[in-house]
């Protein structure tokens, strides 16, 4: 993984000192809250319902064991002993004290971590496929380009006061696990007819109150021009993006109003003036960053061992876990293991400091000291010997991190909702908890199969409900929590937006409604047919019929 050099470390320490001074000026009364707000937001510090929340970036989702231990330390020392992994490869601490934040950031800087680009109207933390570098279907490791973009976008002087936040995601695989089509810019690596690897450039995707799937403005961008092309897009957006209405300020609205052809034309015109300037990426610079992401040297390891075979035969729990939490690795004899942060009755994405320390130890023992964070609020150990799977499974089970539900009905994405967030209309977490309790039988969960439920507590859609196979949106009706259900959303390479089934349902019956939707699917599905496929085949009518039959 990328390791800071002297330039990076000096920068980060200067950044910590700058924020320490800004906090000092705020506490001394030299800065008003209005003046301080954008400064603290540049450092990931939000003021929420009960306390300050600090959001820490995990660039492109890659963490070392040492960094995870430091996240545990921050949770213990400055928060209430836990952290919350978000839907954008960040971790949040919800109970911070303003005067302690500079010290927390100094502790994070020691392991090359920070809260930059996790809030404010800037280019946000760049996200990537959480299986980058190990996925069997990968063309090239997208983290190399994420790191290049991370550096370029760090305190960018021109783009720190954009009309609105700006999110970039990169996938290096044809199977999109980074949801690039619902980002302001999505980059998909692929090979052109000459065999050269470059990027398809998509713009204007996003969720929120106006969900839109990104449109392609360039089929193939050579790597050399990555930064100049991004700068061209951002410059067009910075000048023309709407600033009169916060809900119309994202680039998706600009693309919609200009039309994608006009947008592409303007970007290309801007880019022609930039492409051969100082942003051009020399091949040597790409190679220098690439060297940081060289895979570990994998000692030969067997695909099966007697212990593995015996456990698989004897233990249904182990079999279930292998089926959905363990994925093929590009190296024979190795596996990618997803740790579920979605136990029955748990808060999606929450993790205690003790669990973080324990996972760091498991990463050292079984995964070359490397951990990944997924946008689905789980963790990944990316390089596990298949021979170690029985031991790892037992270790994770003791920690409560081996729930065999990845990609299943209880692997729910949920925003913090009204339990924490000042913007929310309704709670998200308790709905997720009740669904996991309703579907606590893993045999039944596996019978239902792949099913992605995503819950947002308000229309800002931090829980990505528009792209849930089943989406749940919390709404406020006369002071009561109601939930609107959407069906048929998807965030992968065949991205689609969910459609609203009908009127929102009250809090007391939302879990029953989800169960009704699932039972309708079970009654309609063909052999091997996933929920999403059934929905796409039969459409909304039968679901709507069953859901509102009684009403």
């Amino acid at each position: 993984m990328y390791v800071y050099d002297g330039y990076d470390q000096t920068f980060l320490e200067e950044r910590v000192a700058q924020f320490r001074d800004q906090v000092r000026r705020r506490l001394a009364g030299d800065l008003s809250e209005d003046e301080f707000k954008p400064l603290r937001l540049t450092n990931g510090l939000y003021l929420q319902l009960h306390a300050y929340m600090l959001r820490v970036a995990i660039p492109y989702g890659t963490l070392s064991a040492a960094q995870l231990r430091q996240l545990a330390h921050v949770a213990r020392r400055y928060d209430k002993g836990f952290g919350h992994f978000t839907t954008r490869q960040n971790i949040q601490y919800h109970w911070m004290k303003l005067e302690q934040v500079p010290d927390a950031l100094a502790d994070l800087a020691r392991v090359q971590m920070h809260g930059l680009q996790t809030s404010g109207n800037c280019i946000r933390n760049v996200t990537a496929d959480h299986w980058a570098g190990v996925a069997a279907d990968e063309i090239e490791d997208p983290r190399v380009y994420c790191e290049i973009v991370r550096q370029w976008s760090t305190l960018h002087p021109e783009f720190s006061f954009l009309p609105r936040k700006f999110k970039i995601a990169i996938t290096g695989s044809p199977n999109d696990r980074a949801a690039v089509r619902v980002h302001d810019i999505g980059l998909r690596m692929h090979r052109n007819a000459e065999g050269e690897v470059g990027f398809e450039v998509m713009v204007g995707g996003g969720l929120g109150r106006t969900p839109i799937i990104a449109r392609t403005i360039r089929d193939f961008l050579p790597k050399r021009h990555l930064l100049s092309y991004l700068e061209a897009i951002l410059r067009v957006y910075n000048q023309l993006g709407r600033r009169d209405n916060i809900y119309k300020a994202r680039i998706k609205i600009l693309v919609h109003e200009l039309g994608v052809a006009k947008m592409a034309e303007m970007v290309e015109a801007e880019w022609r003036s930039l492409k051969d300037g100082p942003l051009a990426l020399p091949a040597e610079e790409i190679a220098r960053i690439q060297a940081h992401f060289t895979p570990p040297v994998y000692p030969d390891s067997p695909v099966f061992t007697p212990e593995f075979d015996a456990l698989r035969l004897s233990d249904a729990g182990f079999r279930r876990w292998l089926k959905v939490n363990v994925a093929p690795h590009r190296q024979l004899g190795y596996a990618i293991v997803t740790l579920s942060l979605k136990p029955e009755g748990g808060v999606p994405g929450d993790m205690t400091a003790d669990q973080m320390d324990a996972v760091a130890a498991l990463a050292d023992r079984h995964s070359f000291g490397e951990v990944r964070v997924t946008h689905t609020q789980n963790l990944v150990l990316p390089h596990v010997r298949r021979a170690d799977l029985p031991a790892l499974w037992r270790g994770l089970s003791e920690l409560g991190l081996a729930t065999a539900n990845i990609g299943q009905v209880t692997d729910i994405i949920a925003c913090p909702g009204l339990d924490y967030c000042a913007l929310a209309n309704a709670r998200s977490i308790p709905v997720a908890q009740r669904i996991t309790q309703r579907f606590s039988d893993l045999a039944r969960v596996h019978d239902i199969g792949e099913l992605k439920i995503k819950i947002s507590g308000c229309i800002n859609a931090c829980g990505h409900h528009h792209v849930g196979h089943i989406g749940i949106l919390g709404v406020d009706k006369g002071g009561e929590e109601f939930y609107q259900i959407t069906l048929g959303g998807s965030e992968d390479q065949n991205a689609s937006l969910g459609a609203i089934v009908g009127p929102a349902v009250p809090n007391e019956v939302i879990v029953d409604a989800v169960q009704t939707v699932i039972e309708t699917y079970l009654s309609l599905r063909r052999p091997q047919e996933r929920f999403l496929d059934t929905y796409r085949r039969v459409g909304m009518a039968p679901f709507k019929e069953r859901l509102y039959a009684a009403a």
Binding site: Q18, Q151, P282
Partner: protein
């Protein structure tokens, strides 16, 4: 309002003449962009320095042929959170080669000075007190920069490349 230039408080020798106001008989004058377009010949014939004040939606490309005639361009930050003038500044400096004074006006605060300077501004109508102190603090907070911009500083990537090539 104090004018900060070259790190010191400078005397502002410019007068403003808004649309419809009488042009001063002599001395440097700043006019809005629309007035420059309407009265360009008169302003050039006046035989005194001319500056133009742009709103942050005025297209800087339209000014490109005239940049040699202008000693001052004023760009506006109606709110410090409205960052359009950063792009205007970089275009003027880096694309069109403007070398005169580039002044930031409006809601110009200490914590944005470095961004402005990096984009090519060299004069600032600062809305807060203690401008020199603010300038010294803001421009010395960082020694590492990640992007090539309008200030001529080398980016970290450029410095790394230079170090590799030197060995």
């Amino acid at each position: 309002m104090p004018l900060l230039k070259g790190g010191v408080v400078a005397v502002d020798r410019w007068q403003c003449a808004a649309n419809g106001e009488t042009l001063p008989a002599d001395g440097p004058v700043i006019v809005p962009f629309v007035r420059w377009r309407a009265e360009r010949e008169t302003l050039i014939g006046r035989n005194a320095p001319v500056g133009v004040r742009l709103t942050n939606t005025d297209p800087v490309a339209d000014l490109a042929p005239d940049l040699d005639r202008l000693e001052l361009i004023v760009l506006e930050f109606p709110k410090f959170t409205d960052g359009r003038a950063y792009s205007q500044a970089r275009l003027l400096r880096e694309r069109y080669g403007y070398r005169g004074e580039l002044r930031a006006a409006g809601n110009v605060l200490r914590d944005q000075l470095l961004f402005m300077q990096r984009c090519g501004f060299d004069a600032f109508e600062l809305t807060q007190g203690q401008p020199v102190q603010a300038w010294v603090a803001a421009t010395n907070e960082f020694t590492v920069f990640y992007q090539p911009a309008g200030d001529g500083r080398n980016s970290a990537m450029q410095l790394r490349r230079a170090a590799i090539l030197a060995n």
